[in-house]
């Protein structure tokens, strides 16, 4: 009896401690496994995806269908992907970063986290949507828009805003929602856009100061303002037009989408190869594929209505045409380089004044 009990106890302990210690031995063997795969060109590709979940899954399915290459993927926001790649620098776990705003890619280039690759497929893509050195290449473009709540507009007898100045109308006091530029790429794009639209940093900040009392709250997530406008929690929200269309598609038909006529900014969603990728050849194949028409047309099947960077790809019918709107000259490199300074300045002079 005593013996059995002891054996049982030892068994349980060994088992629990093995597992509690993270079972170094199994960890090690998995490591070997992935290395073996690394030598095999037909191995699996690991991709960090910045798209919406359903878009991401659909895209990976399409990729495997088109190329026969198996993919493991995980969906995260741009900032999270950057943080993860940075933390994994000495032992990269993924091969490709697919989707997410170009300025996060610019930050990654500065920290030497990406591998340059000039895809032959990138030739058709406009220079302003890709990095000159090939560290990243744009796969989609999305312009900023205003989302307003229909009932709110009716109640206040307003037309949907078409200029940035319209948002300073007293009716919008405490009614505007946007994300915090420190946490959201979308909000940083808004900040940068305003500076460009108003022709300089001083004028731009003057506007931002006036806008601040109109803002009800700064959310963490860039797309959350759309949900809040749709739910009637706020009158107006600032976010990407394709996100607004997506909310409308989800059934929020009380959201009105307008694009500022005096100029709007846009994000370029990019793709890049992670430095130290064990599947460099497959990763290149992935980049080639992502720039082609088959990959770019996946989004519209899952309700993602960004504009596409490949001119041969069929644009989603519901998307805003970039040619129809007044876009600012958005320079991702400059935007990325100025990021910390501008956000700090905004925090000091606007948010915490």
């Amino acid at each position: 009896m005593k013996k059995w009990l002891n054996i049982g106890i030892i068994f349980v302990l060994v088992l629990s401690i093995l597992a509690a210690c993270g079972s170094e031995s199994t960890g090690g063997s998995k490591e070997e496994g992935s290395k073996k795969e690394g030598n095999d060109p037909q191995g699996k590709l690991t991709v960090y995806v910045g798209f919406q979940e359903d878009h991401a899954l659909e895209a990976m399915k399409q990729f495997t269908e088109d190329t026969g290459i198996e993919v493991d993927m995980i969906r995260m926001s741009g900032g999270e992907i950057l943080a993860k790649i940075r933390a994994e620098k000495d032992n990269p776990q993924a091969d490709v970063w697919y989707g997410g705003p170009a300025d996060t890619f610019v930050a990654a280039v500065d920290e030497e986290l990406l591998e340059a690759y000039k895809s032959p497929e990138a030739d058709v893509i406009d220079d302003k949507f890709k990095d000159a050195d090939g560290y990243w290449t744009g796969v989609y473009v999305g312009a900023l828009g205003f989302a307003t709540n229909k009932e709110f507009l009716e109640k206040n007898g307003l037309e949907a805003p078409t200029k940035w100045e319209d948002l300073l109308d007293p009716a919008y006091k405490g009614e505007i929602i946007m994300a915090h530029p420190g946490s959201s790429g979308t909000a940083y794009t808004i900040l940068y856009t305003v500076l460009k639209v108003f022709g300089g940093e001083d004028k731009g900040f003057e506007y931002l100061e006036k806008l601040h009392p109109q803002v009800q709250q700064y959310t963490t997530s860039g797309s959350a303002p759309g949900r809040m406008v749709g739910m009637g929690e706020a009158g107006a929200g600032l976010l990407f037009a394709h996100d607004i269309i997506k909310y409308q598609e989800e059934g929020f038909d009380n959201i009105v989408l307008t694009i500022p006529e005096d100029g709007t900014g846009y994000e370029t969603g990019a793709v890049g190869i992670i430095k130290g990728s064990k599947q460099a050849e497959l990763a290149k194949k992935f980049v080639d594929w992502s720039l082609g028409t088959s990959a770019q047309e996946v989004g519209q099947r899952t309700g993602s209505y960004q504009n596409l960077t490949n001119p041969d790809a069929k644009e989603p019918e519901k998307a805003i045409r970039l040619d129809d709107i007044n876009t600012i000259d958005y320079n991702p490199k400059e935007a990325g380089a100025e990021r910390t300074r501008l956000i700090d300045k905004w925090d000091k002079e606007v948010n915490n004044k």
């Binding site: 302990l13 946490s183 989800e250």
Partner: protein
């Protein structure tokens, strides 16, 4: 006397190599999975972006920026939520342990319900109920500009989310207080109030302190709720995320994390100092009668009404989740649909299976480890015991985001190359879950006179046999609540694992967060409903296992039958789900 006892313990330790091995292994794993990652984070907080030593980040925080506001905001919030949650939990726990009220089982289940759901779901419900278009604020009260965002909303949501943790601690404790003392007090003519104030309340002080501490820390480290409902009330965990993920500034993020840790340690030490030197032994192994429950009287009625109201509040918040999962778009298009489930079952299957598998593996490890550590802390003396206790509690104070990043930083290189494996997620689950297990284990053990165990060792049983044969059965309720807690925490963990999920292992909570962010409340609700159903089924199964195990046990150990408390009183969980 105390010193010679310690020497004796050490000698016993030397004679019991298995126990020695256990102590070494426990300390080693805590070192690898808590101390080492914290050290990494600490290191990062002193290194600027060009790789040089600097204390700029600390200066920036302490010189009174938005980051300092976040810290003070969090402390205010945690203080309020900790106090409120403890009071609510005590009310519930007292009613269950001392009174006969109708629907007891139902109340008990409801009190634990908020544990089994990802916290930001409560935030969403709060918006649906109390937001501008909220059912209560707009439809019932006719308020125009209700504002749920900010401190008030956070207090509401966090109290609802965290009081069950306090309840689990307090329920176990109040049940194990021996009725003999209270009866003695009443027999000597003390009123019920006097008995409560001078016997019951002092006896429950360690539990109250533990419960408060746990909630306080949870509130400090909470990330999901402030993100959804915090509005412009910045809190420290959210600010850490903003710095580390949003502004790519790991140094500022980790410095803030270090300050947060410092605060937690101070609170912990104060709690320890306050409760540490008292003795609370009430389970002596000598036979006592069962407690006479309060059957009627105004007090019972008042408590019943309070419990009913609280339960109704919890139910209202939770009913919205399954209802929302069948509604096309809440508030806009209220027609019935199964689309959200179609989506979840076609795209979310892998996440569901992964979450369940990993949680099932982590649960027994965390449960057992928690009890072993509690046992070591309360009963054994060895070098490094205080450190062991401190370290094992630390993990709850590390904001999930920070723990996640610390884990990638620490376990990315050989020989500890764990990134991308299941082990790293399981380790995070275990580390996040053991503090609650340890606390309830410690609380329960402090109530039990060591003479029972001494009797066991005197009769020739070794330490391990004593642990499994005497200690574990005596603290069965605490052990079980440890198991329940680790399972539930693992299933619903979010911020800690968001960096640890990999292409091979995905988790439901990450999918839910994605859905919430993209405004698909229906899909998020469907995920949550499935999560809740899985947890309820698993808990029922666990409960069944426990009752089988418990039944067998009592046959073998007739000695324990003299202990009516252990048989008559069902564990809180065994009646709950």
């Amino acid at each position: 006397m105390k010193g010679s006892k310690a020497v004796g313990e050490l000698k016993k330790l030397a004679r019991d190599p298995l126990l020695l091995t256990v102590i070494i292994l426990v300390i080693a794993s805590l070192f690898v999975f808590i101390v080492y990652p914290l050290f990494q984070i600490g290191k990062v907080s002193f290194v600027n972006q060009s790789g040089e030593f600097s204390i700029d980040a600390y200066i920036r925080i302490l010189s009174g920026s938005q980051l300092l506001t976040a810290l003070t905001n969090s402390l205010v919030l945690a203080l309020i939520v900790g106090t409120l949650s403890t009071i609510i939990a005590y009310t519930f726990a007292y009613t269950f342990a001392y009174m006969n009220v109708p629907f007891k089982k139902l109340f008990n289940g409801i009190a634990i319900l908020p544990v089994i759901s990802p916290p930001f779901v409560i935030s969403l419900s709060a918006i649906l109920l109390f937001g501008r278009q909220g059912f209560i604020t707009k439809n019932l009260l006719g308020l125009e500009n209700a504002n749920i965002y900010g401190l008030n909303g956070l207090i509401l949501v966090q109290t609802l989310s965290f009081f069950p943790i306090a309840f689990l601690v307090l329920a176990g404790l109040l049940r194990s207080i021996s009725p003999a003392l209270e009866e003695a007090s009443q027999n000597m003519g003390a009123s019920k109030l006097k008995t409560f104030m001078s016997v019951t309340l002092p006896l429950s002080i360690p539990g109250i302190a533990n419960a408060f501490l746990l909630v306080f820390i949870q509130s400090l480290a909470d990330f999901g709720n402030p993100m959804t409902i915090g509005g412009n009330y910045t809190t420290v965990a959210r600010e850490i995320y903003l710095q580390a993920v949003g502004s790519y500034d790991m140094q500022a993020g980790s410095s803030l994390a270090m300050l947060l840790l410092f605060v937690t340690i101070v609170v912990y030490v104060i709690q320890k100092f306050w409760v540490g030197n008292r003795s609370y032994v009430t389970v002596t192994g000598k036979p006592t009668g069962g407690r006479r429950m309060i059957e009627k009287g105004p007090l019972r009625n008042i408590m019943f009404v309070i419990c009913t109201l609280l339960s109704l509040t919890v139910i209202t918040f939770y009913a919205l989740v399954p209802i929302g999962s069948f509604i096309k778009l809440w508030g806009i298009n209220n027609s019935f649909t199964l689309d959200h489930y179609t989506y979840v079952f076609s795209l979310g299957q892998k996440a569901i299976v992964d979450t369940f598998t990993l949680s099932i593996i982590a649960t027994p490890i965390a449960g057992l480890l928690g009890m072993i550590i509690a046992f070591l802390i309360v009963r054994k003396s060895f070098i490094g015991k205080k450190t062991l206790e401190m370290v094992s509690m630390l993990s709850i104070a590390i904001p999930g985001t920070v723990l996640g990043i610390a884990y990638i930083l620490s376990f990315n290189k050989a020989p500890l190359a764990l990134t991308g494996t299941a082990s790293i997620i399981i380790a995070a689950f275990v580390v996040r879950a053991i503090p609650v297990g340890i606390r309830s284990g410690v609380t329960a053990l402090q109530q039990i006179d060591p003479s029972i165990e001494e009797a066991s060792t005197n009769l020739g049983a070794n330490q391990t046999k004593t642990f499994f044969g005497i200690v574990l059965p005596l603290i069965k309720p605490a052990f079980f609540s440890g198991l329940v807690n680790s399972f539930v925490k693992s299933m619903t963990a979010m911020s800690a694992v968001i960096f640890l999920i990999s292409a091979k292992y995905n988790l439901i909570t990450a999918s839910i967060l994605t859905q919430v962010e993209s405004g698909r409340i229906g899909v998020a609700s469907a995920y949550c409903t499935i999560l809740i159903v899985i947890m309820i089924v698993a808990l029922l199964f666990l409960n069944l296992l426990l009752s089988l195990f418990g039944g067998n046990y009592e046959k073998k150990q007739p000695k324990l039958k003299k202990h009516p408390k252990l048989e008559k009183q069902p564990t809180p969980q065994s009646v709950s789900m």
